[in-house]
Symmetry: C2
Subunit: 419 residues, 2 copies
């Protein structure tokens, strides 16, 4: 592989940071980012991106799912895609998604100034990664992978009762015609994304950046513990069938399961019925979220969770029912692109640390079919999806630098037919 | 003490049960009892009671708190009060409260037929024992004890926004003038009440009735566990400060505390914030209800609960705050009246079993100042506050019988100056 040092001279991470600040000034504020997808503020963010693209020799297109593409045509139609998303949660952070888009824009800028490429490079701004308005995240990337359920989409509404099909139609997206976006994948040979970690691991290690090994698989379930509602004063302890106590046993057991398998497990929600201070809870509903990068470990955790739920229910004379909420398999990234990322992180920060992503990204969808890799920057205090989300300029600079180097290596891999 | 067998001949438990059925037919139905206090259905129940009273030589009065009194005057103004409440929760049972009123009515009926008594006997139908409309239970009896907080009453509303002061004014009750009801206690020497157990203990022992030793003291608190909200995917297990796990630890510890002290403890409600499947709960609020007949044991349980909450919070890197909800001390019943009840239960069912009441009753208020005792009947499956609430005719019969015998003994104790 050729040394990347010879080809990075025109990529300027400072311009990435400057672009992020312009975006934040236009679509953020004291309450955080206001780039909720399918709203005027999101369109404003995209208008800023389009304006930057007008100065470059790129073809700008919007696909059937509302994703924005900018193609820098090379000698071959084989395409390396880079990108992320401009949309944010309400009162969100300034970096989540935007870092990847602005880093990709700078890649196009630098490549365009370096002559015609052997392959095509495309920047994508995915539509509705957050799913913050209608509850369906990874919308645009899932459309390109054909993993959206159109029937489900038809029924989604926002908090004001707005219907997804109507709102998207107002943005030129016909949910009956999303499959057109799939055709765009035909020539794509690699996908690269740089993102903030949204967690505390790199900060806790004193690091700015790392290679991301993949995105964790997720199992989400609702558990319904069923006992017997009873008067808090008249029902003796030994005759109770207390569903909340069963749920409490499970919550502690599932934490132990997460730790034992080196995964993460969370009970984030609980509701009791009748839910009053004077009654033993006859029914308690909790949610469970469990994640692991290894499919085998995730399956083992899931099996352990079933055993733990059964044991918790029996210990309190209760029963338990499961209600499936969501499932996505682990998405390990591509070995050759992982090597490219490792080499780049080593050049920039001098270490081989790599971590999986606990959060989902558009890269999770892309990795289903396309060789994919990600680079993380640190997140101050691990915070994200809040106006407090932040990363030092130094770390952002290093992340953009490592991303650029990894992209250059990916272009080389595609150009030489190895990817 | 004279043998009660000689004086019970005119008391007919079958008439108690017949009266309960008439009441249920008029103010109940397939959905259960409809005698919510301060509503037309409650007035209908009272009209039936008044109609029965017209045939007796009693003075019927309504006091400043809306309690209905029927006085059977004796040679002395010293008064034995019997009663309970006609009001029910929505879709309630046919026996809760009504058993005590109808048993007391039959007592007046039988005593009236037996010539002038040495003391006065009064039947009371307490107003709003359930507190089901405005959330303040034991309203009428608390008014007689002077334990109502008028400022709190002023702010209470029902689910339709109706204000307590206005609704009660429509029933002739001025909340600024409740203290008049206190004067009515001047000559009261004893209070007796028969009630369904509302729990499963007697049924589990195969018994129809028992003496009630007192009502348990109650401590109610809201506990707020504070940790750190975090992303369920990106926050490693070992760096979490999970408030729901702290609450789960406490829920299991408080159950153990209840068992160890032979009391009852309940966590009946839980709320997580942000309360979504994808986030570690930064804040979890739970309610705690703990009860014991011994003030010392209740105090020990409360101290243990504070230690357990602190330990649970610390184990998960959280803190915990307490918010006081409600407190009532244990109300042990009067030794001489307990002896009277024991003798009566022994005569009727041939045993000395006695249990505390885990639920509050108007007797809990009366016992603050007046020698008090209660008799329980069994409850099928321990159910109450539901249309399924029931007790066999045989057990109701025995409860009314034991109640009558206890009342006769109480009259004797008052007449002879021992009470």
């Amino acid at each position: 592989m050729s040394s990347p040092e010879t080809t990075i001279s025109t990529y300027d991470p400072a311009r990435v940071i400057a672009g992020l600040r312009v975006l934040a000034a236009a679509t953020g504020g004291p309450e955080g980012s206001r780039r909720l997808c399918w709203t005027p503020e999101w369109l404003e963010a995209r208008a800023l991106l389009r304006e930057s693209l007008t100065t470059l020799p790129v073809e700008v297109e919007t696909d059937e799912a509302g994703n924005l593409w900018a193609y820098l045509r090379g000698h071959s139609a084989d395409t390396v895609v880079v990108g992320s998303h401009l949309d944010s949660v309400p009162k969100g952070g300034w970096l989540d998604g935007a870092l990847g888009v602005m880093s990709g824009l700078e890649l196009l800028r630098s490549l365009a100034s370096e002559g015609t490429l052997p392959v095509t490079v495309a920047l994508v701004d995915w539509a509705d990664e957050e799913g913050a308005r209608f509850g369906r995240s990874l919308f645009g990337s899932a459309a390109c992978m054909g993993t959206l359920d159109i029937e489900v989409l038809r029924g989604l509404t926002d908090k004001d009762g707005g219907k997804l099909p109507e709102v998207l139609a107002g943005h030129g997206v016909d949910i009956n015609n999303l499959d057109g976006a799939r055709l765009r994948m035909a020539d794509v040979k690699a996908y690269l994304e740089v993102h903030i970690e949204q967690g505390p691991i790199l900060e806790s290690k004193g690091l700015a950046i790392s290679t991301v090994t993949g995105t964790k698989g997720i199992e989400r379930e609702r558990l319904i513990f069923l006992g017997q509602a009873a008067h808090a004063g008249t029902m003796p302890m030994e005759m109770r069938r207390d569903s909340f106590r069963a749920a409490a046993r499970f919550a502690l057991a599932i934490a132990e399961i997460g730790e034992r398998h080196a995964g993460v497990t969370t009970v984030g929600q609980a509701q009791c019925w009748p839910g009053v201070v004077t009654a033993v809870a006859g029914e308690t509903r909790i949610t469970m979220d469990m994640r692991h990068l290894s499919a085998d470990s995730l399956a083992a955790m899931f099996a352990d969770a079933h055993q733990a739920a059964q044991a918790a229910a029996e210990a309190e004379g209760c029963t338990v029912e499961w209600e499936h909420l969501f499932r996505i398999p682990p998405m390990p990234f591509h070995p050759m692109l992982l090597d490219a990322a490792r080499a780049s992180v080593r050049e920039v920060e001098g270490h081989d640390v790599e971590i999986p992503s606990g959060a989902l990204h558009d890269a999770s969808e892309m990795a289903r079919e396309i060789p994919t890799v990600m680079i993380f920057s640190s997140s101050i205090a691990g915070l994200s999806h809040t106006k407090e989300e932040d990363t030092s300029d130094e770390h952002l600079h290093m992340a953009a630098d490592a991303f650029n180097r990894t992209c250059r290596r990916a272009i080389e891999l595609v150009a030489t037919g190895r990817l």
